[in-house]
Symmetry: C2
Subunit: 338 residues, 2 copies
């Protein structure tokens, strides 16, 4: 554990500088010398101390990925995609999971900064804005994912939430539904607000009156799906169909519908934003807006690596905001109302 380049060098009868050159595959070293060194390295099972190296070169060859909930499919798939690309480029990735807790997010961002991580891909809680702004001013490399932060100039990758939601609700309208409720997300977030806007636009375009009591705001978690579903079903204005803005809240809704014996699509229509994470064969099959999740991760990573490779890039350049389109998968959770 205490063996370093010096030890290897002595045993090989060279200087530590030479060992360093061999290990970094620099050209200017004689073949025999290289061989000799590598032999000793093998013998001693020597592995360079990445910490010391990082300190010397002021680069860590590592990026951080800060996600809000690793248990969610969206996050997991993004993670996988980012990792895949990072590994190709020879980077390590540190995954930080904050469970939508801004305090945890801040702690992680600080740790990453303190550890002189080369770059960060961040799915923001959209809370620690001033700190993120500071990081950007220090010219740290950051790419936002899934959500924007207004007032901040930063490369971002996300989907066109508004259009996705619009299409889902329009589909309900076209199917003949009129009293359409939504279990919306957190208004402060990009995903929450934009999906709500899509809902509203679809209704307005169809000249359908928008009822406040049919718009419920949750926090993207299962619990709020349950709570809000109850409210909707027990209200005086019971909806014919419900559009949920993410999978977790859909789960909550399904739970309640099952409990109350309300059948999909016979008694109620259901459409959701987000990929489905359960088997295709499970019933009821829910019509959904699908995001190109893996793609999002890959593009974000590519954006980040482009920055990292461009030594004299600076954050005051115009940021890239990349919007990807969603798909709409029609299944069996609605019916045609004649």
């Amino acid at each position: 554990m205490k063996i370093n380049m010096q030890v290897v060098a002595e045993k090989a009868g060279v200087s530590s500088a030479t060992v360093s050159r061999v290990l970094r595959r620099l050209p200017n070293v004689r073949k025999e010398t290289r061989k000799k060194v590598l032999k000793v390295v093998k013998e001693l099972n020597y592995e360079v101390n990445a910490i010391a190296r990082s300190l010397a070169v002021r680069e860590t060859n590592t990026i951080g990925l800060v996600v809000t909930d690793i248990r969610g499919r969206f996050n997991a798939v993004v993670t996988e995609a980012v990792e895949e690309l990072a590994i190709q480029r020879g980077y390590n990735v540190i995954i930080c999971n904050n469970m939508e807790d801004p305090n945890k997010e801040l702690k992680y961002l600080k740790t990453l900064a303190s550890n002189r991580i080369d770059g960060i891909i961040l799915m923001p809680t959209q809370k620690n804005i001033s700190y993120i702004k500071r990081l950007l001013e220090e010219n740290r490399k950051i790419v936002l994912i899934d959500r924007l932060i207004k007032g901040i100039n930063c490369d971002s990758v996300l989907v066109d939430n508004e259009t996705g939601a619009y299409r889902a609700v329009k589909f309900l309208i076209d199917s003949g539904y009129r009293k359409i409720a939504t279990i919306a997300g957190i208004k402060r977030t990009t995903t929450g607000l934009e999906r709500l806007n899509g809902y509203i636009r679809a209704l307005e375009e169809a000249n359908i009156k928008i009822y406040d009591e049919l718009i419920k705001f949750g926090d993207f978690q299962v619990g709020s799906g349950i709570k809000l579903a109850k409210e909707l079903l027990r209200g005086k204005n019971v909806p014919e169909a419900i559009f949920t803005s993410n999978i977790q809240m859909l789960r909550g809704l399904l739970f309640i519908l099952d409990e109350e014996g309300i059948k999909i699509p016979d008694d109620i229509g259901v459409v959701t934003f987000d990929d489905i994470e359960w088997p295709e064969s499970m019933l009821p099959k829910i019509t959904a807006v699908r995001q190109p999740v893996s793609h999002i991760g890959r593009i974000a990573a590519e954006l980040l690596f482009k920055k990292l490779n461009n030594k004299n890039s600076h954050n005051n350049e115009k940021p890239n905001i990349i919007r990807l389109e969603t798909d709409f998968i029609i299944r069996d959770s609605t019916k045609k109302l004649v």
Copy 2:
């Protein structure tokens, strides 16, 4: 970005040693001095360089968590539990996802070692045995999770797979099923072998003949579930019930059953190992062996931290092998055969 303790020290009119003391909250520093230093730290937005610190103290305050598939619920929940505990103890955790690829696993282990990570929690692919052995010999702190590696003395946390599987299959037998097939996992893995053994023991105890053609070996992925389900259903010895050894392969099975129009539990009984990852309300509701997943993660982390805190612990001590019991959740995927 180029500001360090020296800079802070000069601006505060003290030495860098004093700044260091203040930042580490050491007691022996005057109140006013501390105040003065902290003021400058704030002003300059100074954050200590964790790399340099790690190099100096030869500790990184970081543990690595190597999992096989972050998309799987088991992994995700374990990850969350480990992270939770780590954050409490003031440790950072690096998550490494290898997709069951031994090469990736090796690469990650090397990176972690090179980065002088304090400890590792490893869900092993059970392949890179010699390298892991070497790490252990170098007295690196490692805790295995979910799977054992034979011939290696290392703390491990996993469930009693054999009993869990036994109970599931016995339940089928008690329900009157006789021709019971299994979609088993990778034989080389602890989880694969032990769950198979539970299946066999249950049948043997009931004096039910074991047919080779009713035992199919998959790789724990959805694809093999699909393939093997087809084989079972199209074989000449069609089973009355199937026990799948994990969720992914169950998904494959469900897909095929749905495709072929075979109804659960009317036409076939189904029981699976592993937690269900889809809503309780979805049909069919599958009877399953549930692992105390979160608990597993927490215990593994506790074991690791115990080692880390015990400076003179050494790997040649007798390892702790901790087996946790599973639960058995009876739902609606089987029926009583009279």
